[in-house]
Structure formats: structure tokens, C-alpha cells
Symmetry: D2
Subunit: 401 residues, 4 copies
């Protein structure tokens, strides 16, 4: 059996997705080093985590995806300004010419006039089948990279698979684009990664994933400020320093930031960012505040500022302030490649349902019912490392060329 | 058998020590809550780590120590200005009146005219015996809290116990005060904690500790900037973010800062602070720089500023800046109480030699020959937690009162 | 003629006012140095600005004021926690026992259940007359230190004195408490300082001030972040560095912060804070954003974080980040004393209407119709210094004692 | 008479100089806007400061200079990495091909093996004459942009012109390269700008400048941290906030940073940076500390971190922290163009000796004997603006084309 991976991204022309596509081109052609990915970090033994696991190689990976506008990757790279002129220049013409599978926009409209595409489930299933056949891939992983959307009111149709299927059949508006992609992926036996904070893995779809034995991972990629928060909070916990308040503000100027300037969408995001702290500390922090502001001068170069007030010995107060000058898509894009490769290993291992071992990649980790959610980055690391050891035993032997 | 703990501090009148003594008074009299200590944090099961381990209670702890000046604790509290007027006022007159066991200053002189006390080993052993007898304690732990001193040139006398004993007998100047305290402690069966970066556990004394089956812990308490560094560096490692440079500067205005304005002493400290980064990351960071500056306006309220340059996906650079407004002695003092109590548990368990499980308390963790040194705060936590589970089984049953 | 000053503060029991009252007590009794006030800074010639101007001395100043709750100054000091225990202890019992002149609360209610007091104009005039007579003061200055309130919709009644008087007589709700204090002060020949961003000096009252020849100063004391902004923006201007964005966020946890958590009140404040930048730079900064957040752990110790993006030579971008750890009332209180003393000098000089020379004290400087508003701190300084030189010539000769 | 300007830069292949040359090319060919220069900022009246003054236009400016290595501008641009690839690409081939006038290195060697060029005075005079003749320029300005050098011990030869001439004739090593350039410029009637902290305008050369009626400006361009310091310190002064300490640290990774890693050179620089604070405040700040560290990851993108401790009303302490992420050469280069153009105006006005009105451009402003040195950025601005008004009256009338 082969080990070729196909990735299908919902939101193909977005900043993250176009960065992923360009980077795969640059790295596999040897023009840029393989940096910033867990699967490419080297273990003390000298091999990479990806090799140890027998994950598909980047050279054995193909990418496509869906979008509502027919922009090429080359055009998207220019629009989003994530990469430098030099990097864009070095991407191959073939890659720059790649276009999305078109889907019609759905009625979920954002304030700034962009349409989020919906697409019907049947159409998406056909797209997946065709992609799988044309590229002869062994594993398909669907990755949701759409913009943040308002969280829909809870619907009774989400509760059971039967009700949900009826709702789909009727075109009930409670079925959101994120759910459609998840549903199509599961029905086609493709792993599903929810990199957004959007609601997708409702009980009905969890039921379906268990039936079809398909693995799921989500939700909301843990990149900048929340990554830092889940590394620092365990330190305070370990030293018995009581967190009195944690004030987090973010400024960013890309399209994602613009989408978040809509209050309902922002609320979806902020809720996702806030859940981690109390979980790690074991008590409630009343003054945990998170803000996101659309601020154009910074473009894709997001900046986070955190102020943390802690009380130590005898109640004396201390402060930590963290200023993270990061790059939104540069932090997110490598996680897409890591997640897809790790999902392929999970599929090889026959795992299905929400994958606890991938918690460290997400702001709001989804786990099977009954499993405790872990936000502590280093507890998550421990779970991941144990899984790596388990899987390493089954890694396919690489035949020397 | 009882579970009463006696702590003897070298540098009794210093900022850390006087804070420890005052805090023990305030906490055991119920005037201040028991914050900022690992042993007093509550496990999900509802009991504290200290109780789980069966560590001596704070109420069963007595403290004394050595110094070269006969200042009372009350006077020291006023000198160091660590605690507020209100806190100092609430300390009991008995505690404020406590005085050190006097030791004559040794020829190790710091530039600012203070003398570091030396004391002869025999005298120190007598002091320990007398303290043990008068207070009827079950465990004695000697804690080295002296000022940072220049690192002596390596001496052949450090290599074997026999040579070292001859050097001691001859009054050879290669025997430093830190070694004398360690030696006296070991000979009296008292645990020894080296909270300073000073050289103490030379091969000769390791040999002696193994002979006498005495546990050791050190060195250099991990409090402010290094604590943060060993929490953040694992995060960069985990995400494959390559650290290009880490610039750390510190400003502090207490007596410790004054001592560190002597280049040789500062060198001892900086060396201790620098070792952690490459160990955690697994590669060498050329531009790791650490500075400490004596800056009076801040007094005991130390401040650290870190700038970290990392390269991520495709080599794009990002920056993290951390500003820690901490309090030197407030961070250090609770660790002294934790360490002494955990050492008592180790003694109960019959452990001896350098205690790997206490690595998370130190900037330069000392471990048995052959054991890898771990600087990653969360690997250290894992080792500590495994030890807690192991010891919990043997915790003395508390008889309900 | 004498030179005794009486200050009447609206919002007497607030954090700023109680700090002013306590500080005057401590400074005039020689228990604390006279720091942080312009009138007490020393000129190169060796005398203070206050002496040069012949301003009333602090020792010749008495304070009282209005509030809706009968709390004593001693109680207010404990409530607001601006001063240390030690400072509060040293305030004289007489000062601690001082109580406000009571006024009934007005219908302007804040969300958190506190009532802003209104008071009727006639009652306030009587209070001013009585205060003047009892204390035999030569100058009375009324200072508005109430909480920030929503800006009322513009009313035709504000346009002329006649209309406004009719509205007052009818008890029209368009007459706000801030206007009532201003009106009463003007009618009694007392200088009026508006230290809040509340609307007060409507055309009708400007007309009245001109008729009665009474000086006015306002509005909204320039203390923390805006002070910094009006010092830094001129630097960027001078170097031709184009400001692309200025992101300002504030966290504070005192009662003022709580009042500002009401959106309408916050809007009044933010509008006041935003006006300065474009005025100084001479062009519009699209991405100038100002936020204020109520964050309890910091109490009165306000913190501002600013991020500024500038484009320099050839369009290269640079960033300045400023973190101001300040104290809200400690910055504001000395300005109250300075303003009252400087108003007294203005009255001596026969000046009236809005005082341009006091622009440097305010976020939204009020000037006579036709005079350009200046926000640049150092243009404001120049105007102030020219005024000082002009007035110095008329300073009353101090007879040596 | 014409108004054509010739600039000759000592250190032609350095980061600042190559940026100046490339930028002049890009701006005069209309490829980049004229940003970041005082002469190009627009007055409220709608014309630029440069036009108001009748300063030579950038289009009427030619540049050359001296160096010890024959590198072209194109090569220097690649070496220093100040400009982006795109900007370098757009510089014309003619400009990229420009080479320095070669001078032999002098015995002043820096630790890292680079040689500072010395050049003999006669040779330099010939170079200036030839440059003036070939380019038919009306004004020549020599700008010293060499690396920072150790400050030489004071020599009796510096005291009078006669002694200095004898020393030059004898090849006395007390004559440094910076002095040679100054001497040659003065003798040729060319304005001399010392953009470095190096010692140049010794009494002998001041005497010579007065004799020859040549204007001088210096020394040490005020760009990043010191610029900020001289804007913020006046704010503290104005509000009576007492500066208790000012801790300034800098990290930079360009060749200038490398040169400053030599202690003696660094000392020259730090001394230049420290003088401003006490001058502005009018009292001595004991804890004013300035550090410069060579830190490679940042290359030319210098970063400054300042922590300021101030005491306000009643002695309460507050802190301001400023983090300036700037670009060393991008801040410095436009000042070179401004200074040369303003010097030309001074020459037209017949001014000579040290020019007080250019103080705002320098860390250590040089002024005529008896004139007070001003470091306050806004006092400097006032002096500059008065001079602009004075000169504007004599600006040559521009004949419309």
C-alpha cells in the first residue's frame, strides 16, 4: 500500500491556504528549508518526527481545495501579502496557475460583502471522489480554513444523525458550510480538520464519524497569543502564583482581522480563545479579557500584547507583559501540513472520532465524550509524545532507494 | 516517629532569609494565606501536594541560621524593604528579635566592603547539633542563601574526599564558605540545598554525601527570568520555531544586585543563567546574551526584559518580548520552604545524593553522574510529579485530631 | 489685598479630590515634599514658577466641595486606596474628619447604581458665598471632578444665555450637573476648571463668563496616555516620520474605570482622547484607535499600552511601543492644585473667558472663538511660558517676614 | 548664482552613505516619495520647509565620497542589507556602479580587522577641488560618516591652529582621520558635518573655521533612542515628575554595532548618548545607564528598550517603558540630506562656526563658545524655527518654468 497524501482545503484562496500551497512548492523543489513544522523537527535519535511515525512525506503530498472566487494561487499570494516578493517570484508557474474547485457562495454573508461559500454536500462528495481518483492518493484530508463565522443558535437538528439528514435534505439554514464540508468528508472516508472556531462537529456528525470510522481534529488552530498563554499559564500554576487578571489584546490587519471586526464573528473567536485559562489553572480568573482589533498598518503581521497580574508569596503582586510580533499565516500554515500528515498516520492506525493526541494544535481541543479536555501545552505534548511512541512501532519500513 | 523540620540558613540576615522567617511567622499564626508554594497548591483530589507527600507542615517547622553581623530579623526586614510596613508590623516581636548564630567573616571579600562569612567546619557541625537538640527536630536541612561569589579556579583538592579533607585541615583557601556549609551539613546528616550559583558540590563532597547517605539539591534557585525562559523555550521547540537570538537583561537594586556589580560574581551568575537554553532546544543559540545591571530605583523589585528572535515557516522572522516585573525575594523565599519540606520527604524515603526530582527549582540542576540534566520546565514537572506519586504511597497517615 | 485661595471641588469624595485634600494637609504640615506640581518646580533663577507668578501659596489655600454621599475624607481615602496606609495614617484627624457640602443626587444615573449629584444652581451659589465668607478667601475656584457622563444631545437651549436661563428655570433636563456648577461659579465670580470630559462651557455659559469677566479652563485633565501622545507626536512630525497607525489601550480598575465601562460615558472620554493626534500632525491618521477597559486587578494604578506604526525614509516602517505604568489620581491631583493657583493669577490679571495658556493641562483645550486649538505639548509649553513672563512683572512683592 | 549642492561623504561605502546615494537616485527619478526629511515636510502654508528656505533641491544635488575599499554602491547595498531586494533592484545601474575616491587606510585600526581610512589633508583638498570643478556645484558639504572610534587623549596640539599645523606637518598621530576631513573641508570652504561621535572640532579647527568663515555642524546624529529621550524628558520636566533612573539598552547587528563591541569605541558613543538627560532636567540623574550590544539577528534593524522610573506627587513612583523598533540607517540617511541642504542655506546666509540652529539633529550639539547647549528637542525646534523664519526672507525667488 502506498503512502500518498491528498489535502483539500475549504477556503483555498485565503491567506493560510495560499501560503500552504506556495510553501509546499518551494520546499519540495528544495528552494526553501523545511522549517517550523513538528513533523520536520529532529529527534535526539537523528530522525524527524514525521519519519519516525511513517507519515507521508511532503514530496508525496498534493493539495487542492474549494473557493467561491476563481482566483489563482498566484493572484491570492499577491492579494494577501504574506510572502515576500522574492518568495512569490520563486514559486513555480504551475503552482501559481492553480485554481480552486468552484463552489457557489452560501447565504452566510459577512459584513464586508465577501460571501462565504456553502456548496451542497453531494457536490462536495463528488469533488472529493474526483480528487482522490485523479491524484491516486492513499489518504485524503479535508481542512476547513474558512473565515470565522457567527456561531449559529443551537438546533435540535444537530442532536441526531437522522434529524440532521432530514435538515440537509430540506435545505434547512441550520446546516452551515462548515458542517457541509465535515459531512462530505466523513461520508467519503476523508479525515476532517477544523482549523477554524466555527461550529462543525455536532453530535450528529460525531455519530456519523464513528459509523464511518473517520478521524476528526479540531478546532481553531492554536498559533499566537493562545499558544503563549497555554505555555505560560502552566508555569504560574506550577509555582503557585495566583493569576488575578489576564488582559489580552490583538491587532491585525488582514482579511481575517476584517472579518473579526463583525461583532458576532469576533464573539465566536474570543470565546474560543478564552476557554483555556481556567482549564489550566483549575480556578476561575474573573479578569480574563481578550480583545481583537482590526488595525490595518500591521497587515498579516499580527501583534499580541498580554498583561498578566499574579499574586505570589504573602499576596505580593507581580506583572508579566508579553508582546508577540508574529505573522498570522506563517504560524498557521505549517500546522495545516503537520495536521494532514498526522491525520494520515491516524487513518493508517485505524483511529477515528476526535483525536485527543492532536489537542496541542488547537485553541478548543475536541476529544471523545468522557475524555478530559487538556489546554496545558505541556500536558498536550506528553499525550502527543506517547502517541508518537505508540505509532512509531507500526511505521512502514522505508525501502532504501 | 515525628515529622518536625528544622531549617538552618547560611546568610540568615539576607533579604531572602529574613523574608522566609517573617513569612513563616505570619502564615503559621494565620495572619497571611499560604500562597506561592508548590507544597500548598491543591491537587484536583482536594488535598495539597504537601499533605499528599506527608511533608512536614509549616506549623512543625523551625528556622535559624548563620550570619556575620548580629542584626535581628526585625532589623533585617527594615534594611531590605522587601515587605510592606504593614506586614513588618504584624510579625511577632519574638520573631523580630531573632538573631543569627554568629560566624566570623572569611577572607572572601566582596568589592563593596561586606564580608562573606566563612566559619570553620567543626564550629558549624556543633551549631547544627545544638540546633537539632534544642528544637527536637526530626529533619534538619541546611540552605545556602549567601551572596553570589566569584567561582574559584578548579583545584585538584576537589577531586577526592581524602584530598579535600587534607585541604580543610590545612586551611587551604580553595575551601570556600559554600563548601564548608555543605561539608558540615553532610557530616551531620542534614540535607543540603544550594540556592546560590556558588560552587559547592565538588566530587569530594558528592563522595561524602553518598557515604553518609545525605540528599543534596541545587543549584541556584530558578525564579524570574530563567523560570520564564525554561517555560517559553519548550514552546518554541515544540512548534519548530528556530531561536536565532535571545537577549536578556535584568535590572535590580537590592544588595544582591550590588554584589553582582562585581564582574567576577556576575560572571558566576550569568554562566548559571545561560546554560539552560541550548539544553532545551537541542542546538546552540549563538546570540544568547544575558546581562544583570545594578539599578537602584527598583530596589528588591527586579525587572527582566527579554527579546527573542525566532525563525518560523519558510524562514520568516518573528519576535517575542517579555517584560517581567517581579520581586526577587518574594519569588525566592517560598521556594526555600518548599525545598526544605521536600528534602525532608526525601530523607524519609532514604534518598541521597543529588535529587533529580527537584530540578525544576534550579537554574543549574544538579543530578547524579550519568543522569541527563533537564532544563525544560515541563520535563522537570513530569519528573517531579512521578516522584510525588511514588512518595505519596509512603506518606505517614495523619491521625485525625 | 490678600492672596488667599479657596478651592471648591464638585465630586469631593472621589479619588482625585480626596487625594488633593490629604496631600495639601501633608505638604503644608511639612510631612511630604512638594513634588509633581508645575508651580513648585524651580526655574534656573532659583525660584519656583509659583513664586515668580505670585500665585497663592499652598499654605494659603483651603479646600471644600460637594458630594451626594456624606462620607468623610478619611473614609474616602480608605475607599479609593490611592495612598498607602502610611500616608493615610499621617493625615491629620481634622482633615480626615472633613465632610462634603451635601447636594441631592440628580437624575443622571450611571449604570452601576451610583448617582451623580446635580444640585440646583441657587443652592450652589449660596454654598460658594458661604465658603468665601467663612474662609475669608480672596479667590475662589470651582473645580469639576465628577465622573465622566454621557454627552447629552445638543440642545437649542445651549445657544444663548437667555434660552439657557429659561431652561434652568423650567428644570429642563438638558441642564446637566456640570453646567449647573459652571453656571453657579460664574455667577459668583469664581474661576471654573472643568477637569472632566463632560460638556459644560456651552455658548450660553461662555457669554455669561464674558459678561461676568470670569476665567474658565478645560477640559479633561491631560495626565497619562494623552500626555505621552502629545509629547511623542511632535517628535514624529519634526522628523517627517509619517504616522500610519496609533493603537492605544488602557486598563484601569478604579471607580472611574467602572463608570467608563458604560459605553456612552466611555464614548465621551474616548472622543476627548482622540482629538489630539490629527491636530498635532497636520494630517488624518485613519488607524488611530483608543480603548479603555475596566480591569480590576490594577485598581487606581492605570496602565496604558501604545503601539505606533510610522513610515520613514523611502517608506520603511518602524514601530514604537510605550507602556506607561502610572497612577491615575497621583497624576491628576497635583494638576488640580496647579490649576487653581494659576486661575487665581489669571483673576488677579483680570483675564476672563477660556484661558489658552492653560491648554497644556487638558486633553481637549478650550480656547476663545477664533484662537487655534493647540495639542502639541511643547507649543502649549511655549504659550504657557510666555504668559508666565508676562504675569511675572505684576507679581505682588513678597514682604520678607 | 546657482544653487547646486555637492555632498562628499567620508565612509562612502558604509550603510548610511550607500542608503543616501541609492535613495537620492530613487527619489529624484520619481520612483519613491520624498519621506522622512525635514526639508520635505509641508508647512501649513502649503510649501515645504526646503522651498521656504530656498535650499538646493534634491534634483540639484550630487554625491560622492571617500573610502578605503573600492566597493561600488551596488555592492555596498547588498553588503549592508538596509534596503529590500526590490528597492535595490530599482536603483539605476549608473548609481550602482559608483565607486569611492580611494584613500589609504590609516593606522587607526578597529578590533575586527577593518581599517579606518585616514588620508592626508593635501590629498583630500585636491579631491574636494576636483569634485567641485567636475560637478560645477555652488556649495560643497563634507559629511563625516565613518565608524565610531576611540576618543584620543587630549593633546596640546589641539589648542591652537599653529600647533595643530605643525603636528599635521610632522604626521603626529594625534591628528585623527576625523580631524583631517574637517581640516581639508574648512580649507576648501566646504561646510563640515560631523555625523559621528568622533572628536573633530578641536579649538585649532574652530579657529580655522572662523578665519575661513566656514560653517560646522555636529556631532553624532540624533536618531533612535536619544531622539526619544530628548522628547520624553521635557515632558517629565514640565509635569514636575522627578526622574529617579533611566535605563537604556540597545541591540543592533550591523557593522556599526560590531565596531561598538570594542569597549573604547563604545565608550565614545555612550558618552555622547548620556550627556542629554541632566541638561534637559536641570538636575543629575544618578541612575542613568546606557548600553549598546552587538546582537546579530537584528542586523540593521536596531532596537532600543528604555525603562524610566519617575517619582510624582507625594513621592509615588511610576514607570514608563519604551520599545523602539527602528532602522538605524533609515533614520540616519535622511538627516544627511537635510543637513547638507541646510548647510548650503547657512553658507548662502554667510553664517560660519558651529551652527546652533542645527542642534536638533545631534546627540551632542556643538555651539559657539558662550552659547548654552540645548538638548531639549522642543527648545531645539524653537531655535530651528526662528532661524527658518529669518532665512525665509532671503530665499532666492524661484523662476517659474
Amino acid at each position: 500500500m502506498g503512502n500518498k497524501l491528498g489535502i483539500l482545503i475549504a477556503g483555498y484562496g485565503g491567506a493560510i491556504s495560499s501560503t500552504v500551497v506556495a510553501a509546499l512548492d518551494l520546499m519540495t523543489r528544495g528552494l526553501r528549508p523545511r522549517l517550523g513544522m513538528i513533523c520536520e523537527t529532529t529527534e535526539p535519535s537523528g530522525i524527524t518526527v514525521g519519519s519516525k511515525l511513517g507519515a507521508p512525506d511532503l514530496a508525496d503530498t498534493v493539495i487542492s481545495g474549494w473557493d467561491v472566487v476563481p482566483e489563482t494561487i498566484g493572484e491570492a499570494l499577491v492579494t494577501h501579502q504574506v510572502l515576500t516578493d522574492t518568495d512569490i517570484r520563486d514559486v513555480s508557474p504551475a503552482t501559481k496557475g492553480m485554481r480552486p474547485i468552484l463552489v457557489p457562495p452560501k447565504h452566510t454573508e459577512t459584513t464586508n460583502g465577501h460571501y462565504e461559500f456553502g456548496g451542497r454536500i453531494e457536490k462536495l462528495r463528488q469533488d472529493i471522489r474526483q480528487f482522490r481518483a485523479e491524484n491516486q492518493v492513499d489518504w485524503v484530508v479535508v481542512v476547513n480554513c474558512m473565515s470565522t463565522q457567527p456561531t449559529p443558535a443551537w438546533s435540535a437538528n444537530y442532536e441526531s444523525l437522522e434529524q440532521f439528514q432530514t435538515a440537509c435534505a430540506k435545505g434547512d439554514p441550520c446546516v452551515t458550510p462548515s458542517m457541509e464540508y465535515a459531512c462530505a468528508a466523513i461520508l467519503e472516508g476523508a479525515g476532517y480538520v477544523n482549523f477554524t472556531p466555527n461550529l462543525a462537529t455536532i453530535p450528529a456528525l460525531l455519530e456519523l464519524a464513528n459509523q464511518k470510522r473517520v478521524p476528526l481534529a479540531g478546532k481553531d488552530g492554536k498559533t499566537g497569543q493562545t499558544l503563549l498563554k497555554t505555555a505560560l499559564a502552566p508555569m504560574f500554576k506550577l509555582r503557585g502564583l495566583q493569576v488575578q487578571g489576564w488582559f489580552s489584546t490583538n491587532i491585525l490587519g488582514n482579511r481575517d482581522g476584517e472579518a473579526l471586526s463583525e461583532p458576532d464573528a469576533c464573539n465566536t473567536k474570543v470565546t474560543s480563545k478564552e476557554s483555556c485559562l481556567d482549564n489550566i489553572l483549575g480556578y476561575e480568573v474573573d479578569d480574563h479579557q481578550v480583545y481583537i482589533h482590526y488595525y490595518r498598518p500591521r497587515r498579516d503581521n499580527k501583534e499580541a500584547w498580554d498583561n498578566i497580574d499574579v499574586d505570589g508569596f504573602l499576596g505580593y503582586s507581580m506583572q508579566v507583559k508579553v508582546n508577540f510580533l508574529c505573522r498570522d499565516s506563517i504560524l498557521a500554515a505549517p500546522l495545516i501540513l503537520d495536521l494532514a500528515r498526522l491525520m494520515a498516520v491516524s487513518m493508517r492506525e485505524g483511529e477515528y472520532g476526535p483525536l485527543t493526541q492532536l489537542s496541542m494544535f488547537f485553541k478548543s481541543p475536541e476529544v471523545p465524550v468522557g475524555t478530559p479536555v487538556q489546554h496545558d501545552l505541556f500536558v498536550q505534548r506528553q499525550i502527543f509524545e506517547e502517541w508518537v511512541e505508540k505509532c512509531a512501532a507500526h511505521a512502514p519500513v522505508k525501502v532504501a532507494v
